[in-house]
């Protein structure tokens, strides 16, 4: 299963997953095809409800695809789960999986035994991984007595305790303080770059993807909209985004005219209640378009307090692909 210079460790082909609900059939994944190479940190970026967790669950053998195939280390996750499971591990930022009245070390040792690790090796790995994550002084505390950040570090150590070839992480830094999140990101980078472990990172945290992912697939409504390196995706937009601070905040329908202007790829708007303004971010294909947008906004009797150009981020890439920002998309999905 070689592909180019590196071995392909995760591969999906036209992966589809449907769920039955009271409202009818829900398509969570729709024809997803991707390839991930050994040692890559591969981001799956999308708003809540985009299909990220479903993809991770299929790849970690917890869910069968409705159609298509998914292979990990060459094995079909649907048909050969028993061959896939010793090679993988997974963790979710939302999980609090552990036995409360047992120490962090005891919990980690327990989870290592599910993979048949000799106890001596298990303790060596627990010590080594904990030291990397700054957990070593908390290993003997009961699980219930750990703070959210340290529980999350335990979860990350658990996901690597069996030295898996491929690790699936679903929002691993959600709800964590900045320092903990940074320490987890550094740890993930070291596992991928120094140990050649493949990490699939499902997240809606764009800065996280930007910071550590080699490649990113942007997913929305179960479909992959784009897949490339974060820098290539940002370069594809052509020009920096235009940001306008508008006061008073205009009703959403007044902004809709922006989408109709030639060269506008999409826009997103957030209200800053403290300052009583709307920050309208418009993804444009050129500097001329940015000028046109500014003039059109002023002409439509919106009071533009200030405007500036912003370094392109993955948020703008998403806006360009979908026409809406993450938050608007999540509201649409929830509705």
């Amino acid at each position: 299963m070689s592909h180019g210079d590196s071995k392909v460790t995760v591969e999906t082909e036209n992966l589809r997953r449907e769920f039955e609900s009271k409202q009818g059939k829900i398509v969570a994944l729709d024809g997803v095809s991707l390839r991930v190479k050994e040692g890559e940190i591969f981001g799956v970026l999308g708003p809540n409800g985009a299909g990220k967790t479903t993809m991770v669950r299929i790849l970690s053998t917890l869910l069968l695809p409705t159609a298509g195939t998914a292979r990990v280390m060459g094995y079909d996750v649907g048909k050969e789960p028993e061959k896939v499971r010793p090679l993988i591990n997974s963790a979710s930022g939302a999980e609090r999986a552990g036995y409360d009245f047992i120490s962090a070390r005891g919990n980690l040792w327990f989870f290592s035994q599910l993979y048949g690790l000799p106890s001596e090796e298990a303790h060596r790995r627990i010590n080594e991984l904990s030291a990397m994550l700054g957990l070593e002084n908390y290993l003997d505390r009961k699980f219930y007595a750990l703070s959210t950040g340290y529980r999350q570090r335990v979860t990350i150590v658990r996901a690597f305790v069996n030295d898996p070839r491929v690790v699936f992480l679903d929002e691993p830094t959600i709800g964590l303080d900045v320092m903990t999140a940074i320490s987890i990101r550094e740890f993930l980078l070291s596992q991928a770059k120094n140990r050649g472990r493949t990490i699939i990172l499902a997240t809606h945290n764009m800065s996280e993807v930007d910071a550590i992912c080699d490649k990113v697939a942007i997913i929305d409504k179960g479909k992959i909209l784009a897949c490339d390196t974060p820098s290539a995706l940002k370069r594809s937009l052509g020009a920096p985004a235009l940001v306008m601070e508008v006061s008073p905040p205009p009703p959403p329908e007044r902004l809709e005219m922006l989408a109709k202007l030639e060269g506008v790829k999409g826009y997103t708007s957030t209200i800053d209640e403290e300052r009583g303004i709307s920050r309208v971010q418009v993804v444009v294909n050129s500097d001329d378009t940015a000028q046109t947008v500014l003039e059109a906004t002023r002409k439509s009797e919106m009071n533009v307090l200030s405007s500036y150009r912003q370094q392109t981020t993955l948020e703008e890439v998403f806006v360009a692909l979908v026409g809406r920002g993450f938050r608007e998309r999540e509201h649409e999905v929830a509705a």
């Binding site: 917890l62 869910l63 069968l64 939302a94 036995y99 005891g106 327990f110 599910l114």
Partner: protein, 276 residues
């Protein structure tokens, strides 16, 4: 799936260790598990003694010992996977190479080890306070006790897989099952045989519960009538066969039910509980 003895043994041992540590990590739970069977069996023993049924006092003490294990089977075995699922642990088990039977056996052994001290305390207290007359056939007692625990915990394994289907209602199911089973299985009085107060049809139903067979066999091997020699294996061989068949078939049933549930869960997406 090819059996890997190393993973199987390590998983079973680790799960047993977790169960035992968890039981003793919660002091209040230890008090509850000891207190409930202790006081109930003492009350029953006092009742027997006050009504002149001195030879039946031992039934009450034995009932207290065995009800400790039955409570553990219900609350720490049957409901366990449902709680594990709520905690996100079940999906960790399923996505690991660990055989689910090893986890179940580990849970059972941990439950037995964790419950043994409270059962022993009930037996000790009953002996100190009431000194019930016993006339034991010890080899029979040991065999029947072991087989009864095997069958009881195998029942717990089967219920554990079935409770996965019921979600949070599992706790209500435990409440619903606990007392009727205690009554039918004759924990504190003979519910099958010549001394049973139940009609024959109800005795047949009661006989389907491993605890009923186990209790009857234990009473026969521990409390032979005074003046008569202790009962031999001829008095309990049917019980031994029934308990062996129950333990074996419930184990197979639990394994098959869990496998079927895993497959169903992978199809329908019900293995994991979304936690946000």
């Amino acid at each position: 799936m090819k059996l890997q003895p190393s993973i199987w043994l390590r998983t079973a041992y680790a799960r047993m260790w977790v169960r035992t540590k968890s039981i003793y990590g919660e002091p209040l739970w230890v008090v509850v598990t000891i207190g409930f069977p202790l006081f109930t069996s003492l009350a029953m023993a006092l009742l027997y003694r006050s009504t002149g049924l001195n030879s039946a006092v031992g039934f009450a003490v034995l009932g207290g010992v065995m009800i400790s294990f039955w409570g553990n089977v219900l609350w720490s075995m049957a409901s366990q996977f449902q709680w594990d699922k709520q905690q996100g642990l079940f999906e960790i088990y399923i996505s690991s190479p660990a055989p689910i039977t090893a986890i179940l056996v580990g849970m059972s052994l941990g439950g037995i080890i964790g419950t043994a001290p409270s059962a022993a305390l009930v037996a000790f207290a009953g002996w100190v306070f009431f000194a019930p007359p016993i006339n034991p056939f010890w080899p029979g007692v040991i065999v029947v006790f072991g087989l009864t625990l095997a069958a009881l915990y195998a029942l717990g394994m089967t219920l554990a897989s079935l409770y996965l289907v019921y979600g949070r209602e599992a706790e209500a199911l435990n409440e619903a099952i606990h007392e009727p089973v205690s009554l039918l299985s004759g924990v504190y009085f003979p519910s099958i045989g010549g001394f049973s107060p139940f009609p024959f049809a109800l005795q047949v139903v009661a006989s389907l519960i491993p605890l009923t067979i186990g209790m009857d066999a234990l009473r026969r091997t521990l409390f032979a009538l005074p003046g008569l020699p202790p009962a031999g294996f001829d008095a309990i061989y049917l019980h031994v066969i029934a308990l062996s068949v129950m333990a074996g078939s419930l184990l197979v049933l639990a394994q098959k039910a869990l496998k079927a549930l895993e497959e169903r869960g992978r199809r329908t997406g019900t293995i994991a509980v979304r936690q946000r």
